[in-house]
């Protein structure tokens, strides 16, 4: 494997982690917007407490992928930034408002008007951001930067469904309250069905409108990854139905990995199909090796810190001292 491929792997790995964890946070916003029924408030509280400690670090995966992209593949980055200016700006707007709104509504909780307004902004921007990020990915896959094409838009829709699914599955295990768990379980089942349907649309559209990408999708790596994603998707459903939420978490994460592997496997060795091959878009080898060394050193600090964060908030069950 060359340095260029290693760097590309870092970019895609960061994007994948963002898709899982950042995606779950966006999905949390979606369920916040669609919180219904008698336990509406409790649902929102669960979401707030699940996202609160981790959303900022989850968000850094995107920054990191973006920075890695311009460090290692400057010309591809410049083109993506130019030709996908509109969807990326809209995604950015969503990302910014989501983060700010989440904090604002939490600290304004005793002013109903403010809290309601920012809650709504939080939910709405949690849909906008993943939609346009998915759309941008779809646009790259077309090889024409065609972000208004039905295919790209359908990828955006698919991404929103995926976020909602990941979030719902993750949320089941975030609460002890049986009725709340039931709420999220039902949402997870619905979202999984939504992912299946929303996944068929881009596949069908690619078949008719994006022949180049479709034939790439049927290549060996992509086909295998998609097959795995489908199996995992069914697995998520079964695990959720059978109350195995911890295993379901793992399965839904793996499902996202498989989806991204399918997308990238179809594109490789192109970074931006029809425009930039990985090797050609790559920065000089001195930059790549300095970057890879920096990543290795950074990982030594980052991984234990992340594990510590998740150990505190996602594994240890109860607060030390009661509040």
């Amino acid at each position: 494997m060359t340095a260029a491929y290693a760097a590309a792997a870092v970019v895609v790995a960061a994007l994948t982690l963002y898709a899982i964890f950042g995606g779950a946070d966006f999905g949390g916003g979606v369920w916040d917007l669609f919180a219904t029924g008698p336990r509406r408030r409790a649902q929102r509280d669960t979401i707030t407490h699940a996202i609160g400690p981790v959303w900022e670090s989850n968000h850094v995966w995107l920054i990191f992928a973006w920075v890695a992209l311009f460090t290692c593949f400057p010309p591809a980055y410049a083109d993506v930034g130019t030709y996908l200016n509109a969807p990326l700006t809209l995604a950015l707007l969503g990302i910014v408002l989501r983060g700010a709104a989440f904090v604002f509504r939490n600290y304004a909780s005793d002013d109903p008007t403010m809290a309601r307004t920012w809650s709504f902004v939080f939910g709405a921007s949690s849909i906008i951001a993943p939609f346009f990020l998915g759309d941008a990915i779809g646009a790259i896959a077309t090889g024409r930067y065609a972000w208004t094409s039905p295919f790209a838009l359908s990828v955006g829709l698919f991404n929103v469904a995926l976020c909602a699914q990941v979030a719902a599955v993750f949320l089941i295990a975030e609460t002890d309250d049986p009725s709340l768990r039931e709420d999220f379980r039902r949402r997870a089942i619905r979202a999984t069905i939504a992912v299946w349907i929303a996944g068929l649309i881009p596949a069908a559209l690619a078949r008719y409108a994006e022949p180049a990408f479709f034939s790439a999708l049927t290549g060996s790596i992509a086909r295998l990854a998609i097959a795995i994603a489908v199996v995992l998707g069914i697995g998520v459903m079964l695990l959720v139905v059978r109350n195995r939420e911890m295993l379901a978490r793992v399965a839904v994460g793996a499902e996202v990995v498989a989806v991204l592997a399918g997308w990238f496997g179809a594109q490789a060795p192109q970074f931006v199909p029809a425009h930039w091959a990985i090797e050609i878009a790559a920065a000089p080898s001195t930059t790549l090796s300095a970057f890879l060394i920096a990543v290795a050193c950074g990982a030594v600090v980052l991984i234990p810190s992340l594990l510590y964060l998740f150990a505190i908030f996602k594994i240890r069950s109860r607060p030390h001292n009661s509040v």
């Binding site: 400690p53 850094v60 920054i63 990326l88 300095a290 970057f291």
Partner: protein, 433 residues
């Protein structure tokens, strides 16, 4: 992009400085067990939560805008300046992780572990400021490559990262963050004391004032040393910027420092001149020669008046800050109550430190024009060709106004609420089976 940076820099600075204040406050609480310090740390950490979130999202805007607004610059420079950005990514990661640990860990960690978790936040905050400033240093003096027929070859990312001004600029930027946070936080406390609006927790406010002023009073004199070093560095390496700072047109020995004045084409009139002072500052010899704008091609002029006034504003307001810090130090040393007039001065120094920060940023950015990377790429050539940029700028300007207004409103609420009442019972968390 300029708007974004001017906005982000405030939150970034507070994001670097506040963790230090919180760390000190909680540390004092752990030692003395005095409730006021605990309350102070809690109140400040709420402010930190809000400001850090806004800083994080506005930083996201910046990193995106690099590609959305300056794709040509990134095409040129991405491979050269990516390394400090990547390292900044890691620093930001650590910061975000421990912000999460700190803010949500009050009841989940032992007090000591919780206190220690503020260290990585403060440390990585200062480091990210340093890394980002390394990029700015590179833009001032691009290095780590050779230009052959207009193409960049022999890329050396390490040399690019450590371009000559990296250390002086990095220290200057980090200190600026502590100056602003120190005076900013002190000003809030001083304002509350002046208005007598927090009588029920006067101890907390006094403690806050002391901690913030200690940080400010340490940082501001150091900042003068750092600033002086940079100025001398600029005189040698960036004569166009230096001559603009001082609005010095004629290359001369015995060069004066000109304060204010009207910057015209070819001369600066009606300014207060201190003869020989500039030559002396540059090389400690009043007879040394200082390069003026006459040695620089007019196509390479920065907007001289803007740079000059920004520079005067920065130095002038920093001098006032230094005086305030000194006055406070004198009173604090004698353990005397602060007179109302000094409290008013401290309250005023909050906004003043913001002005200083922005003026300093204006100096470095406008001083580098017309280049985005000096000698390599002009700003105009680096901008995107994508349509609709004006709309984008308006939209994001509106977003900034809304964010800043909400932030202000929230911070006032957080500041006003006594800690005890502010502690809402947390919702039943979230036990994983």
């Amino acid at each position: 992009m300029g708007t974004s940076l001017a906005f982000h820099i405030v939150f970034a600075a507070l994001g670097v400085g506040l963790p230090l204040l919180v760390f000190v406050a909680e540390g004092v609480w752990l030692r003395t067990k005095r409730r006021a310090y605990y309350d102070l740390a809690r109140t400040w950490s709420k402010g930190m939560a809000i400001l850090f979130a806004v800083g994080a999202v506005s930083g996201t805007i910046l990193s995106f805008e690099l590609g959305l607004l300056w794709p040509t610059f990134m095409r040129y420079a991405g491979a050269l300046i990516g390394l400090p950005f990547s390292l900044e990514g890691f620093a930001f990661f650590v910061e975000a992780i421990f912000i999460g640990v700190y803010l949500y860990g009050w009841d989940r960690l032992s007090p000591r572990a919780h206190w220690l978790s503020a260290i990585p936040i403060a440390l990585s905050g200062a480091l990210s400021a340093g890394f980002v400033t390394m990029v700015n240093a590179w833009m001032n003096i691009p290095s780590g490559f050779r230009l052959v027929n207009g193409k960049i070859v022999d890329v050396d990312p390490i040399a690019a990262m450590f371009s000559p001004p990296w250390l002086v600029e990095g220290v200057h930027a980090a200190l600026a963050a502590y100056v602003m946070t120190g005076f900013g936080a002190a000003a809030v406390c001083a304002f509350a004391l002046l208005r007598r609006s927090a009588q029920d927790r006067i101890d907390q406010v006094r403690a806050g004032l002391t901690i913030a002023m200690i940080v400010a009073a340490i940082a501001i004199p150091l900042q003068f040393i750092a600033g002086d070093t940079i100025a001398r560095f600029d005189a040698e390496h960036e004569p166009a910027k230096f001559a603009s700072l001082e609005a010095l047109w004629k290359t001369q020995r015995h060069a004066p420092i000109t304060i204010g004045g009207i910057v015209g084409r070819g001369e600066t009139r009606y300014g207060i001149e201190i003869p020989g002072a500039l030559s002396w500052l540059v090389s400690f010899d009043p007879n040394s020669e200082v390069t003026g704008l006459d040695r620089i091609a007019p196509t390479g002029y920065p907007p001289i008046a803007t740079v000059h006034y920004s520079f005067d504003t920065m130095v002038g307001s920093a001098t006032l800050l230094l005086l305030v810090a000194f006055a406070w130090f004198v009173f604090a040393l004698r353990k005397r109550d602060l007179p109302r007039r000094l409290l008013a001065a401290i309250a005023f120094s909050g906004p003043l430190s913001l002005v200083t920060l922005e003026a300093g940023w204006f100096v470095t950015e406008f001083g580098r024009q017309p280049w985005i990377a000096r000698g390599l790429l002009r700003t105009g050539d680096a901008a995107t060709i994508a349509p609709g940029i004006a709309v984008q700028l308006y939209v994001f300007s509106c977003v900034y106004v809304i964010l800043a207004a909400t932030c202000w409103w929230l911070l006032r609420r957080v500041g006003r609420k006594p800690q005890a009442a502010a502690r809402k019972p947390l919702a039943p968390k979230a036990a994983t089976p």
